[in-house]
Point group: C2
Chain length 165, copies 2
């Protein structure tokens, strides 16, 4: 389905999606047409979901990252759906996971400072009844990337190599 050339294309586009197709082709050893068709297919197949601009958190005044661990006292499905919807609506919530283990849910929240987090927190609990919440703040963002590892992609060997065996 995805071969090594596709993987290299994905790697390039994950890094910078403004590179012209002709240049991508050159880098992966393909001419423009097949390279363009591969990219088109990767988009059709949903491997490439979207192309977006990445902003500098500091420049848009969200310097503080908070991790919010939520433990709920077991509610029914309806409540959980409402819970998920309400929380997802907050633009400050960048990531939202249902967890295995002690903690039930984990949020990553982007805000300017601790006071803003407090205000966010108040708006959150005003909208939804949460029993147990524990917040940790990040002091420093050492790494944060939109690039997923591509080493685990199920690669189909290129035809040439397959025929060799």
């Amino acid at each position: 389905m995805i071969d090594r050339i596709d993987r290299r294309i994905l790697s390039i586009l994950q890094e910078d999606c403004t590179i012209p197709v002709a240049e991508i082709g050159r880098r992966v050893g393909l001419s423009t047409t097949p390279c363009w068709r591969r990219i088109q297919k990767l988009e059709e197949d949903g491997v490439i979901q979207r192309r977006v601009a990445i902003l500098d958190p500091k420049k848009v005044n969200v310097k503080v990252t908070a991790f919010v661990a939520i433990t709920t006292s077991r509610h029914n499905d309806d409540w959980l759906r409402k819970f998920a919807d309400v929380i997802s609506e907050f633009p400050e919530v960048i990531e939202f996971y249902r967890m295995a283990g002690q903690v039930d849910y984990l949020l990553r929240v982007a805000v300017p400072d601790i006071e803003a987090y407090d205000a966010f927190y108040k708006r959150l609990i005003a909208k939804i009844d949460i029993s147990d919440v524990s917040t940790s703040f990040a002091m420093e963002q050492i790494k944060s990337t939109s690039q997923l590892p591509l080493s685990y992609v199920q690669t189909e060997k290129p035809r040439a190599e397959r025929d060799d065996q």
Copy 2:
């Protein structure tokens, strides 16, 4: 520095950076040229850091997200720098924070499954001596976005509004 129109432009580009400048201009009530110039400036100023393709984690076979909480037994600066470098090198590490509070460091790791996490973990501890590690797995990704909240941006009021006052 950044006014409301810039903010709307950023909001659009955070969502989809393939939209033509003319269309962005139309949406924010500007003709192509000034809109293009604003985008150019936002890039120069580093507000827009890059433009990237966002891939579907499932399609590239990283279905499991692990959060790794690391507690170190207080090392010196050199060790900490090496620690940061070694961990940052792993492409599976998508996010890496230095934390306040109980936990010293928090990683978000993307892997195909629990076995792959275990292999990753072995490679990690083989490279660096970590005393106390605690891993939690996400069962479900309810929300995950590259879009930062723009409500906190320091906005300079547009000239017209300022003059009105």
